[in-house]
């Protein structure tokens, strides 16, 4: 859970981009990740010793995670904190004793000292708070997903088009080194043509937080109620669907899905089990599954190519042609004889035989040791790109330069989540509605 000691993280964007190989292959890197264009080493020099003055709206577990990260960023200082839940505000205030505290975010937005705000509140508050903050002339960083409804997403997107302020949504995989390198490899053709995408997120916990009083059930366990949350789709799938579109470089045109409350029948309204199929116009599909009553499969983002597979979450890739290569000649001969025996089982016909998973030679996307998120934490994982995206936002608060495509990626990911939820509730295939398409989206 939350580590109360300040984390020792490398927040140097210059080093981060150097590590990604910007110096040797900048063009290729920026083609895959255009949002890094604002954070090249040269631009990092521009901020010199300036500091972004940051205010936090929402100081719960995720808010405190971000506070720890911002405290470690040399070009940022936290000057204001806001929360309507006193225990969280008190804890946050102990972390930032110099920061002024507020219980009403509108009052905080009136302060002219604040350059940017970081919003870590329940989903239903994202859109109104983001819109208010932009209207107040603040740069905004908001946790994912973008908003609770499709209309709210469109309102936020439209507001962003009409402002010169910076807007970020915490799609941290966009700043995760192994995802960026993995995408470079995918887009260079390493795994061939993408023929499928498989993402899943499995946990075994009830998603509940301890309650100091039953009256606070909805305020603290907001994730479990549709009035405040999109459930597994907005809380977990939004990250993974963004990755799929990033790899595919286009957006699925339709979705069909099912969802149920299978295990945690405790009065919650959101599903604890969802299975969805998103379909691109060329027939490639995203198979998405999330279940929070079994953690056997963990969390994975698999991009399947006709020449290989990229497992971005685990930071590993492998090639089709290398399947079973480690088997000796005699083992292969025995296997072949075995297959022929099974293939002639009369009851199931000659085509049937057990086709168990073959062994592949794994290669690491990154050299040396790297962090892999097991997907179990409800707050956030170390080195998953969260520190880098926060550092980028703080830099953008100083330069005023918008992060290219960040809002657009968050918009399409959130829209796909809502379309998924709509498909589940209406029990039918949903096609991406024309009124919610934006110029950024490519469907073919």
């Amino acid at each position: 859970m939350l580590n109360k000691k300040p984390k020792q993280v490398d927040t140097s964007l210059r080093q981060f981009i150097k590590d990604l190989g910007y110096i040797s292959g900048g063009a290729a890197l920026l083609a895959t990740t255009p949002w890094l264009q604002s954070f090249t080493p040269d631009k990092a020099k521009e901020i010199k010793s300036e500091k972004a003055r940051i205010g936090f709206i929402g100081t719960g577990s995720r808010g405190q995670y971000s506070i720890h990260a911002v405290l470690a960023i040399p070009h940022a200082e936290i000057i204001a904190l806001c929360d309507n839940y006193a225990p969280n505000l008190q804890t946050a205030s102990e972390l930032c004793p110099k920061a002024k505290t507020y219980t009403d975010y509108r009052k905080m937005l009136e302060s002219s000292d604040i350059d940017g705000v970081i919003i870590s509140t329940p989903l239903y508050l994202h859109a109104p708070m983001t819109l208010d903050a932009l209207a107040a002339g603040k740069h905004v960083y908001c946790e994912k997903a973008m908003a609770l409804t499709m209309d709210q997403c469109k309102s936020v997107y439209d507001a962003y088009q009409n402002t010169d302020k910076v807007l970020y949504f915490c799609m941290q995989r966009m700043f995760d080194e192994k995802y960026i390198k993995g995408m470079q490899m995918i887009h260079s053709g390493l795994i061939g043509d993408i023929v499928g995408e498989r993402c899943h997120w499995f946990r075994n916990n009830d998603w509940r937080r301890p309650l100091p009083s039953p009256a606070l059930e909805r305020q603290i366990n907001w994730r479990l109620y549709r009035e405040y949350s999109g459930g597994l789709m907005t809380e977990l799938a939004s990250h993974q669907l963004e990755v799929c579109c990033w790899a595919m470089q286009k957006v699925p045109e339709s979705v069909i899905g099912v969802g149920d409350i299978v295990n945690w029948k405790d009065g919650r309204e959101v599903y604890d089990s969802v299975n969805l199929v998103y379909r691109y116009n060329n027939g490639v599909k995203i198979n998405y599954e999330s279940l929070i009553s079994n953690k056997f499969n963990g969390m994975e983002d698999q991009i399947l190519g006709n020449k290989g597979t990229m497992n971005l979450a685990t930071g590993i890739y492998c090639f089709e042609e290398e399947a079973n290569v480690k088997k000796s000649g005699i083992e292969q001969l025995i296997n072949q004889i075995g297959n022929k025996i099974y293939a002639s089982v009369p009851a199931a016909g000659p085509s049937w035989r057990p086709e168990t998973k073959e062994k592949f030679t794994p290669y690491n996307i990154l050299e040396g040791e790297f962090q892999v998120n097991d997907g179990l934490s409800m707050v956030g994982a170390l080195k998953d790109g969260s520190d880098e995206i926060l550092s980028s936002f703080c830099q953008a608060c100083i330069t005023g330069e918008k992060g290219k495509n960040i809002v657009e990626e968050a918009y399409l990911a959130t829209m796909l989540c809502h379309l998924g939820n709509q498909s589940i509730s209406e029990q039918k295939k949903i096609t991406f509605p024309e009124e919610y398409k934006i110029p950024y989206m490519k469907f073919s």
Binding site: S328, G329, I330, Q332, L333, I334
Partner: protein, 79 residues
Amino acid sequence: MKDLVISSKRLKKEILIIAICFIVASIINIISVIIYKTPWYEIFTQIGYVLVITLVIYFMVILIRAIVLLIKKMFVRKS
């Protein structure tokens, strides 16, 4: 308990059969290396598989010999 006596002739015969089985298993290993284009050092590294196959062939030979012996005995009784 009665002692089992294995004659040296019988012992030599069994050792010869096992040796032939081992040669056959080794040939199978060599053929596998050629067919699947795997490294030649597998002739030595896959010796475990060769020994298992040797035993399998040997027991198959024992089975065939036992069947032949049974059939022979049946004919001897009839005549």
